[in-house]
Amino acid sequence: MLLPLGAPALPLDEAGKYVAGAYVVFVVLLVVYVAIMAAKLQRIERELREVATIAEERKDEKAEVPA
């Protein structure tokens, strides 16, 4: 395959879109990762709330049992 080794640098208006594309890809990947982590955090929070509710119910049940 013959590659344009000696080709002159791309003009700024054309090179700019490629450079912007590369950096945007990086940012998008980061944002997607943060969104996935946010979803995980929401799940953990929901589970923690469920566990807290169960613990409170058990506590109430113990309190209702006459000594």
């Binding site: 590659l3 791309l10 450079v19 990762y33 799940r43 589970e47 923690l48 566990v51």
Partner: protein, 240 residues
């Protein structure tokens, strides 16, 4: 306490990325050969180096797991590989964009650097189905560690093989007889490398903190004899 120090680390990472981007676009001179398109170098190469080192670090954690039989190290290894694979995706995409702008092709199959990185990436992409395929958690952790060590040893060998190969088109800018990078470009590059390394460490810590929190909730459920929720992960190792 995986979350300890996460806040200052995150702030340092954001600051370092901001400084690096400023250096890339306002300080580093334009490359005489490639012009503005060379700015991709400051993103693509640090990402690639961090990803490759991350794979090796994953192997080192796997050695610690096999030596101590402590599941914590398996989780470290898993997370290190996981974040490095994400970095690998970014390397492949930014590399393809740079290749298209510089060479007029999205991908060049006879270029050893590109193909070798793709091989390493695909090898690590099999890590997940490999873990999925094993039900027993102890066996899963042991086999995954063996995989991580073997693959981690392959990474530097692969890198050396590529460096020794006579490349025609992929630029060699470090330790070459032509003098390498000029001072401003080298400083910018080193800042970008530090920023990517910090980002990798921060994301690893984030992931470990999330896994730790999830593990603590599961421990609480077990302690309360509460029913487990549906859809829990089988592959991701727990951190308690």
């Amino acid at each position: 306490m995986y979350g300890k120090g996460l806040k200052p680390l995150s702030i340092a990472t954001v600051a370092m990325i901001a400084v690096s981007l400023s250096l890339v676009f306002f300080y580093a001179p334009l490359d005489a050969d490639q012009g503005f398109i060379q700015k991709i170098f400051y993103l693509h190469v640090p990402l690639a180096m961090t990803a490759l080192v991350g794979f090796i670090v994953g192997g080192v954690f796997a050695i610690a797991h096999l030596r101590t039989d402590n599941r914590k190290w398996d989780a470290y290894s898993y997370v290190a590989i996981h974040i490095s694979v994400i970095f690998g995706v970014a390397v492949l995409i930014t590399g393809a964009i740079w290749a298209k702008a510089s060479w007029g092709h999205w991908w060049v199959w006879d270029e050893p650097t590109l193909v070798s990185f793709l091989i390493v990436f695909l090898m690590y992409a099999t890590y997940y189905p490999f873990r999925y395929a094993i039900e027993d958690r102890d066996r899963q952790a042991r086999y995954a560690s063996v995989f991580a060590i073997t693959a981690g040893a392959f990474v530097p060998l692969n890198f050396l093989a590529v460096r020794m190969a006579q490349s025609l088109v992929h630029p060699r800018v470090f330790a070459t007889s032509n003098g390498g990078l000029p001072g401003e470009m080298m400083l910018t590059f080193l800042c970008c490398l530090a920023a990517m390394a910090l980002l990798w460490v921060t994301l690893v810590k984030f992931e470990l903190t999330a896994k730790s929190a999830s593990g603590q909730v599961k421990r609480l459920r077990r302690a309360l004899d509460a029913p487990a929720p549906g859809g829990s992960s089988r592959i991701a190792p727990e951190v308690s």
